[in-house]
Symmetry: C2
Subunit: 263 residues, 2 copies
């Protein structure tokens, strides 16, 4: 397995993150998960735009590097033409303390893995253990601060579900631990606005460009939906159950997956 670290392709076993890297010590960084097909990264521009917006929010300079080439190199070095790439950007090494150094030397890490097999329709619960903070700008960027999502995902696993719906501070639906969420309600396809704490997902935007509108909704409404599906950079995944309520349709998910050529 090879990784791309600060411009150098190297064996993963040899790649070294400094113990003083602020990505490790403070979660001070961003990431993107990208899908590659036939050696090409899908929706690359949208991912790099979101990375740039995140970098602006946390005041991090973007690396002076051809990220498209670095992503392609990492994929190829691992003998993959289809795969999932992860691009991690941290503020790099810093001295003790919360305030970032004035001239950070960001860490850029790219890893690649085979595409996971298509997942079956998901069973969801509503997370009760934590809430997504839509009052923080972090809700709108893909930062390294993922512990709330981990807690929700652990709760799902404890309850035998595949994923958990995170509610925001107003007790409305934001997203799941790893995906955006869409519902067909009263014949309309809806997804929570970013202001509700939904990560502005790249696949979410691709779906919204075809159909659907942004509208806030509750977990109770989700349980009464005609159809629910999840979107991530890797898939459009039907949902078969929300808190014990069974959903029978996956028509919209199938239609959109076909339109967007998503596996």
């Amino acid at each position: 397995v090879k990784v791309h670290l600060n411009g150098i392709l190297q064996e993963a076993d040899a790649a070294r993150i400094d113990p003083a890297d602020r990505g490790l010590t403070l979660g001070d960084g961003l990431f993107e998960t990208l899908q590659a097909k036939d050696g090409r990264v899908l929706r690359l521009e949208a991912h790099l735009d979101r990375l740039a917006r995140g970098a602006e929010v946390i005041g991090l300079p973007l690396p002076d590097m051809d990220l498209e080439a670095a992503l392609a190199d990492t994929l190829a070095a691992n003998g993959l033409s289809d795969g999932v790439l992860r691009l991690t950007l941290t503020r790099g090494v810093g001295p003790r303390g919360v305030l970032p150094p004035l001239a950070p030397q960001p860490t850029v890490l790219i890893t690649a893995a085979p595409l996971p097999p298509p997942a079956p329709a998901a069973c969801l619960i509503g997370a009760s253990v934590t809430r997504r903070n839509e009052l923080s700008p972090l809700a709108a960027i893909k930062s390294l601060n993922y512990l709330d999502n981990i807690l929700a995902r652990q709760e799902a696993a404890r309850r035998g579900a595949d994923d958990a719906v995170l509610l925001n501070t107003m007790e409305r639906v934001a997203e799941t631990s790893i995906a955006n969420i869409f519902a067909v309600l009263d014949g309309r396809l809806i997804t929570p606005p970013v202001s509700e704490g939904a990560l502005p997902g790249v696949m979410r935007a691709a779906v919204l460009a075809l159909e659907g509108i942004e509208r806030a909704f509750t977990l109770q409404e989700l349980m009464q939906a005609d159809e629910v599906f999840l979107t991530s950079a890797l898939s459009i995944r039907p949902v078969r159950e929300v808190e014990g309520f069974v959903l029978l349709s996956d028509a919209a998910a199938r239609r959109l997956a076909a339109a967007l050529a998503v596996g």
Copy 2:
């Protein structure tokens, strides 16, 4: 500079964190900042108790290691008898994905630095850029998810202040980016309860054991206080200004620092 990594004292320059460490990729871990004097860690039991509570919240096994000895060894290896130690515990290396591995091999990292010089009385602003999420269990543990605090601290720096007061989702005071906050209001010493999003600080508990009570308050009340001070593992620090309102007293801060033998 020497660090203690997974049981081995080594040169910091040689210490290697794996790029797949979940502390780096997802902020999946905890830390403690501890003060040492005369080769002894102050309030060690309270720090290790908090670490254990955090580990329980995120479902992380505590390392099978004599942490007291490891902390002392790290201090001594750096030629320090007084200093600040940082103990970082992550879930270690994991495959892609949010769900933790069933049998994680946690990463234990200990670093040491000289004690910073005593800081002058602080000038505070109220953070407007983000809010602390008291609805998440993460607010009550010292996790690696520090980006909200970083955003607040950056806002303080932009406005020429030393630190920022983080408000919770109810718009009440929680803490600052690196410290708990106390106020003397109507002749009573008060600090926000943990349920308001205040980290259960070790020095905070030491102060409360001597005097003061937990009570929620707003930034407006803080601006009208007779005295305000900040507590962390390293100091009890007077505040001279809150959002332009000047505070003249530091009597309680001095009295408590003397009682607790804090520099």
